[in-house]
């Protein structure tokens, strides 16, 4: 589904990603872990197409297409979804309006018929149950005045409605209490299917108790320095990241 080859990227002239190689197959869940500043969020933003992040080398192929040539909106329409670490507040734009516009723009792109108001509301109500979201949040402005937990749940709701092929969760667990974490993870798990993949970007192992990854990668200083299965996450939790840094320096 996703093939990243030797990806280099700069932010403000400084190289953050220094040659990432990663393959995610259909149906897999990958976790990307690493200390702060290692480039985890940069990778997530580069995949979503943020223009402040300049790709200097390498390629990203998504379902046979050159992802880096696509605009952010076309990436979303092709099936990429980024759950933001810091969801943006947009006063004056209601959640419903955002979701309805988004889903129909995606459907139009894929030559599917647009949903009318009734069909959309039916779908939306079903998905809201998944993330245990209160109906009153729907008519409110996007993330405006939402608590941290509500914002993250809102991201997962959007994901549930848009049904992406590849979801990238950027530190979705940060700042969540255990109840909110469980709800978010539960939402993600229910959406899991053999034809969808997920990349979970996280600093802590905690979330991986609920979203069990097939593979775990450790990102350090702009490179993936170690890959393994879910046991690697536990090892990281127990030992921290320092031993990896040392290993790296020896290598």
């Amino acid at each position: 589904m996703l093939e990243i080859k030797n990806l280099h990227a700069n932010v403000g002239g400084k190289e953050i990603l220094k040659g990432i190689d990663l393959t995610v197959n259909t149906g897999e869940v990958h976790a990307i872990m690493g200390p702060n500043g290692s480039g985890k969020s940069t990778l997530a933003q580069v995949l979503a197409g943020r223009k402040e992040y300049e790709v200097t080398k390498g390629e990203v192929i998504f379902n046979g297409k050159n992802l880096l040539e696509l605009s952010p909106e076309d990436r979303a329409r092709e099936g990429i979804f980024l759950a933001f670490q810091y969801p943006v507040e947009i006063p004056g734009v209601s959640n419903v309006n955002l979701l309805k516009t988004a889903i129909n723009e995606i459907r139009k792109y894929n030559s599917e018929e647009e949903l009318d108001a009734m069909e959309f509301m039916t779908l939306l109500k079903k998905k809201m149950k998944l993330v245990e979201m209160d109906q009153s949040l729907l008519s409110r402005s996007v993330n405006d005045g939402f608590s941290g937990g509500e914002k993250k749940r809102n991201e997962i709701l959007q994901m549930a409605v848009l049904e992406p092929k590849l979801s990238i969760l950027d530190e979705t667990d940060s700042g969540l209490d255990i109840d909110a974490l469980r709800i978010v993870a539960n939402g993600v798990n229910k959406l899991k299917s053999p034809d969808r993949s997920t990349i979970v970007v996280t600093h802590y192992q905690r979330l991986l108790n609920y979203i069990v990854p097939d593979y775990v990668h450790v990102l350090y200083n702009g490179k993936i320095v170690k890959s393994g299965t879910k046991e690697l996450a536990l090892e990281l939790e127990a030992k921290g990241y320092d031993w990896l840094k040392e290993q790296k320096e020896f290598a």
């Binding site: 979503a48 197409g49 943020r50 223009k51 605009s71 952010p72 909106e73 990436r75 979303a76 329409r77 979804f81 980024l82 933001f84 969801p87 943006v88 947009i90 006063p91 004056g92 734009v93 309006n97 955002l98 516009t101 988004a102 889903i103 723009e105 995606i106 792109y109 402005s141 996007v142 959007q158 848009l162």
Partner: protein
Amino acid sequence: MSNILDIKNWYIKSFESFESSLNGESSKPFHQIRKEAMEKFSQLNFPTTHDEDWRFTNIAPLLKYNFEPAAMAELKTQQTKNFLFENLKGNTLIFVNGFFIPKLSHVKKSNDGIIVCSLANQLKNGSPVISQHLGKYANHREQIFTALSTAFTRDGAFIYVPDNKILEEPVQILFITTTSNKNILSQPRNLYVTGTNSQVSIIERYLSLDDGVYFTNVVTEIYAGENSIINHIKLQEENLKAFHISRTEVDQEKGSNFTSYSISLGGEIARHDINARFNDEGSECNLNGLFLLTGNQLFDTHSLIDHAKPNCSSHEKYKGILDDTSHGVFNGKVIVRRDAQKTNAFQENKNIILSNGALINTKPQLEIFADDVKCSHGATIGQLDEDAMFYLKSRGIGEEKAKAILIHAFASDVVRTIKIEEVKKYLEEVLEKRFNK
């Protein structure tokens, strides 16, 4: 005409023929005020960019023309009915080139003392409301355009709601201009007066039937009696060659509540001065504004809220969206006088610039002489929020649509608090049409 003196003489000469057209009315007491205003007009100068209040607004393009006082023109109902909000069933007053046209208007018979009619009618009848209020709030001694309005006062909208009466349905007032290829000057003069515990909503629309160059110079005086509630909506939708100079003066008695929406869409040069004074305690004043500018338009709004008495509150929210090479000016002055303790005054002016050529000058001016008050102001100028743009795009929404959504959200912040559904819906449509291509 090349010379300002010639232009002034032109208006002074016009006044002579105006006077003779008044017939018996020139014997009424108000005519003395007209004459005094004309005298002032001849002494005052047209503002230039050297005047602080007109620093950013050069009216030279307006002074290139010698506008003729408009004559009465006939229109068919067909030509005006699309301008009315058809679901509103209240009184309608329709003016063409500043003259009231009874045939096109619809005034309900009332036996509770409420008066909705033309100012001309009240001037003719020698109404006590006229002698008490007309010309009392808009100062013609210092402002040349107000002097011009007062001197040429002949017609406009008149609303009087006596004590304890409520006019349930909003009054709709249309000011339509049709030029017939003449550079005309239309000068509606409006007066709205409410008694104790009364209530009224007023919608004014300024519209053009063609794209000729003309000049609307309008002065509206509003007196809000004790505990009365006035909602005032002004929609300025004149053509892009029109000049629109307007002044709204509001005098508020104890416990009164005045809310205004000033929406400015049209005009080559448009200027709106809105001033409110608290004469007594416990009053509230809400000034809202939205201006959408394109092409070479210039819009200037100056407001003054005079907290002369304690325990009053004012909220001001103006938003501008500027495209192409348009130019906007916001000047919001709030004076909190020494006695005006426990004042709440909030002011906000936010602007979005959509092109490199557009320009906004914004200036909040707070003058506070009392010490136990809550006042704040904020002015921002910016482009669309990049983070919000990226967020929308990352959800599959294309560039143009994402832009439209954000602009719409920005503007609807003003529009959505309008209480008259029909007006709100109409303005939402205007926004939709303009920004959601």
